[in-house]
């Protein structure tokens, strides 16, 4: 299991388009990937789960991955958060 803390930097929070990119990225990996916000856990392949986190800008989330390609998954997803999901 690999864990990393990521921060939502988008002004509008983890809304539809970023969540969409997150799901698309997560589906490329075989490992289990999840995000936790204050005890609430969302599967990164579930759009509804991610939206239900309701994470506004500035929220710190715990990213966790378990499986053979977990290190690559953590890297790829952290990059998405750091680049603000390339959201306009």
């Amino acid at each position: 299991m690999i864990t990393r803390v990521v921060t939502v930097q988008n002004p509008e929070g983890l809304h539809m388009r970023p969540a969409d990119k997150l799901v698309r990225t997560a589906t490329n990996f075989q490992c289990q990937i999840e995000l936790e916000r204050a005890g609430q856990i969302a599967d990164c392949r579930s759009m509804i789960g991610l939206l239900t986190l309701g994470a506004p800008q500035g929220t710190e989330l715990t990213l966790r991955a378990q499986g053979p390609d977990a290190p690559m998954a953590i890297e790829a997803i952290s990059r998405l958060f750091d680049s603000q999901f390339d959201d306009p």
Binding site: M16, R17, D20, S46, G49, T52, G54, P56
Partner: protein, 582 residues
Amino acid sequence: MLELQGIAVSPGVAIGKAIVFDREGYSIARCLVSRPEAQREWQRLVEAVSKAHEVLGARGKETTDSWGANLGGIFSAQQQLLLDPHVRSEMEHLIRDNLYAAEYAVSEVFAKYAAAFRKASSSFLAERAADVRDVERTLLEALTGKPTQTFAEIPPGSIVVSHDLTPGETASFDTEKVLALCTEAGGPGGHTAIVARGMEIPAVVGVGNFLHNIRSGDELIIDGHLGRIFVSPDAPTRERYLKRRIARESIVSELSELKDLPAVTSDGVHVELMANVEFPNETQACLARGADGVGLYRTEFLYLGHDKEPTEEDHFLAYQQVLRDMQGRPVVIRTLDLGADKMGMTRPVEPENNPFLGLRSIRLSLRNPALFRVQVRAILRAASAGNCRIMFPMVTTLDEFRSAKFLLRSVADDLTCEGIRIPSTLRVGMMVEVPAAVLMLDRFIEEIDFVSIGTNDLTQYTLAVDRSNVSVADLYQACDPAVLRLIKRTQEITSEHGKSTSVCGEMSNNPAHALLLVGMGIRSLSLAPSTIPVIKKAIRSVTLGQCEAMAWRALRLGTAREVEAFLMNQLAGLVPEIVLQA
């Protein structure tokens, strides 16, 4: 044939085709499949999901081409909602294990998430509910291969079957096409009941879970007298109800001959019969039934079923029409009587745990003077078009009545300055529907011109029963002795001071209750236009002495059940024709 029992809330018999609506107001063909069909049903859903995925993809491309990737990206996100693994596994479970039809599974799962999003505290999530609904609709269309029907697209001869109906939904019905209403939830005093009576169509509510037993297109019989529903009735049942419908039509035509006769007891005591109306066009039904006036003009329709707050002109035109149509007969206009939970534009800051005890009715109006002034201005401007009275609902304390009257005066002063004449005969009254107002009525009485007892809310607040809650709806009894005592006290105080008391709740619609009220000294009833003839018939069949004896006895009984049984027995003896009709 399947027979179900619910709560009869609007009389009449209807025979027609079911049209089943899901919780979000889309029609669904049927709810359950057999076990061998489940695999095929799941396959059908899987295919529909990939078709819907293509549709959303095409919409996204189109939108990106015309509006840019920023907007087009929404559809890509909607595709993710469609493919969400949780949504998928829940739908699979409902189809394979619970044998839900694909459409039913889709609507249950998506409605659940849409509701969860709507309830979320963040406005960001609440807005996503609309996306969930979009995806649901796209998927349903992919399943059925045709656009989904909504309430506005009901075929003629339909009986609307649904879990529950909101006032806005019922207001959007085409009355030419809907024969009857039938819901799983709801109680005798709920809005579906009131609207059905206003539309003069039979309705049965509080049936409990039964949607899975009905599919759209099934033949249905709704018995609005006994609260029975027959799904795919057999030939003898159908024959019996066809005969009853014909018999009823002949009684109705017999009663309509009473139209121009007054409602007087056989020993000459006159009872004023007024009508409750919801929509301006109901004045025609009032006049056709020989109503003495409008005893309760509910103004909520102006606020419901519309996206925008009504303008002063919207109010004014509706009030003016009703006042003019009633040609000098009294019209009692009740100001806004809604909970904040029902109003799109003035939502309370905090969600209300207990809306019936919350910010509603006169409280909401006093809290939003801008909204209230618009309505009061329109009423005062329209007042000279007829015999206008204004009434404030749910008044609990004298302070509330004074504040409302203060606002009324200040609006009247403004209008006078603008050169608009306000009739000096305009009378200002209040609804009595909170026990506190009854207990304090001797203090109110000097400051009010008239009272109208709203028995629905008075019953609800006296017995602490939410009338729309299926689990306790049976405890809601307008004839409870506690409610009768409050009505009696109200009548005594107003008559001591020479002021009038009218009863405008559902009680007035029941012949036995109406005679009881007359026996208690009430001389003005306001009821659904359609029940005026039968109540008139009842009053013309009895003497005041008989009513008073009935009241004397009823007020000495200990339980609602005893009162109800006693009254039914009395009615059967005094006016047997009416009892037979039911």
